[in-house]
Symmetry: C2
Subunit: 330 residues, 2 copies
């Protein structure tokens, strides 16, 4: 297995990107290609013990930042670490590409056939899947690849998410639901209402429209939603979880007894935090592009990068791209 890692992706690049790649190389024994500004990447590597690891560096003269316009950067920064890394994937010189960089730019560079791997034949729009960090680990798709969607896109998101969950979690007939503002007939916006008949006729294990409450209770393995609402939903979940943690901590620290109680209860809080931790989850797979592309959180630390690389190798190993091609292709 040979995995390309964008060394210029994370907010604190190249430190976490490089350190995570080293962890992954040691743990999984894969070859890693780090793409980025060679002097900076090699300096970060020099701080690590890389003896016996198959790590190489490819130089890229440019880097795409979080503030860059995705479409402009995709068009103009042709020698960015994303472009160079995705060209390796396209050329078949690597099995997967991982980046913690600008999501919109990765989408743009990866989806274009000139710069990236293009779409799997038959796929209308690639979509970003994300694992919702509750115990049952359902997938929410789309998490923002497409701010505006059509019914036939949502249908494909359900199909691609279903393939992913089947192969990655070993669930034979994943329950696919549309996320909506209500379960009753007549609920949903136009998009949802027009997608329902497509889902019903799809052969998927479509379990209906569900509200976020049901999704959080584990009522579906794949929650399908347009990228705008999905992204707002995921960010709301993260924000509320963070707000609750902060508020609980604040009130616990406000009294002596509660402070002692908080100290005693710390192992319980740590378990909750570990479960909700986006670092544990790895990255978000970009499904529908013709290669394995995993997008890690911009705030990723080395461990989160390692998890994303581990996820990339599993996605490659389990043939998700070929399985989507078989399911959707003509």
């Amino acid at each position: 297995m040979r995995i390309v890692v964008d060394a210029m992706g994370s907010d604190d690049h190249p430190g976490p990107d490089v350190a995570g790649a080293v962890m992954a190389a040691r743990e999984f024994g894969d070859a890693i290609v780090l793409v980025g500004d060679r002097p900076r990447v090699e300096a970060a590597l020099a701080a690590q013990d890389t003896a016996g690891l198959a790590i190489e560096v490819r130089h890229a003269t440019q880097a795409i930042g979080m503030k860059d316009s995705p479409s402009a950067a995709a068009r103009e920064k042709r020698d960015s670490s994303m472009h160079v890394g995705l060209a390796l994937l396209r050329a078949g010189e690597a099995d997967a590409f991982v980046s913690a960089g600008n999501t919109g730019a990765i989408l743009a560079v990866a989806t274009l056939r000139q710069t990236g791997v293009g779409r799997i034949p038959g796929v209308l729009r690639p979509a970003l899947g994300v694992v919702f960090p509750i115990e049952s680990k359902p997938m929410l798709i789309d998490n923002g690849a497409n701010a505006d969607a059509k019914p036939e896109y949502l249908l494909q998101f359900g199909q691609m998410g279903s393939v992913y969950v089947e192969r990655m979690l070993g669930i034979a007939r994943p329950r696919v639901a549309l996320i909506s503002n209500g379960e009753e007939e007549g609920k949903g916006n136009h998009l949802i209402k027009e997608t329902i008949p497509l889902m019903e006729a799809s052969g998927l294990n479509y379990v209906g429209n569900i509200e976020p409450k049901e999704f959080v209770r584990g009522a579906a393995d794949v929650g399908v939603i347009d990228g705008f609402t999905g992204n707002v939903m995921m960010k709301t979940a993260e924000a509320v979880a963070g707000y609750m943690s902060d508020t609980i901590r604040k009130y616990i620290m406000a009294g002596t007894l509660t402070k002692i109680g908080g100290a005693l209860a710390r192992p319980a809080f740590q378990r909750v935090r570990a479960q909700l931790d986006p670092d544990e989850v790895g990255g978000a797979p970009l499904l529908g592009v013709n290669g394995v592309v995993i997008i890690a959180h911009g705030r990723s630390n080395a461990y989160a990068m390692r998890q994303a690389i581990g996820q990339a190798r599993r996605v490659a190993e389990r043939g998700i791209v070929a399985a989507i091609a078989e399911r959707l292709g003509n």
Copy 2:
């Protein structure tokens, strides 16, 4: 002040609806009109101490349930407690209407001029505002009155929300934001992108597009969003808060020391719960209809109903309807 309360609204009607009305009548000294099935309402009243309170009962032969189709129920159940109650509001015999019933049905009955109070002249679509239960208590609007929106609707939601927050919270120039999937230029779906220039030209204190994270941190007093996404967002927030509480409790109860710690920290948890409690917030104002209409949670207990009635009287007192008419009317 004379407030009409739908006695057949809440999931456990008429108990909580009647008990909450009695609490409100005692607390605020207002006259309350309870509308519903007279024998059942009077039986519930008999269980309460109503000495000296100005409570009367109006009979309605029908009730609209949570499972009823809103449009069909609005059309067909012409003698429902909602129809009878909203007719009193339209006739000027009451200052406000409060119901914990089927939101879609309240919307439908209230918005139609034949059955309810109709729209304020100039208002394109009424919207459901909801107080987001974080410390700064911002308003999220629309919380589901309109599953599909247009830019000019969102603009009015911002205007109506702004009037509400000005008058209810005493904030002179409320910060109005669009809730989006990113703050950078180019983020947002078509709807958001087309709404931005309207917001910029509106004279509102428009502070830009914000992500849910910023909204939860208190970056805006009014968060504007289409009703589908707004409803999914609010329900996600409730679901994640509930999930976190349950998970923390489960892990605390799993160990002896953590259990002791949890007991000591209980006052802190209670403060968090009280802050997030939707019962404290009251109900959601339906802004843009030509009268004061407050929709309480279906799960409301007596205290939540009392809070919603208290909110209704403040909305009436502070002339929100007239202020919206002045701001939006021609």
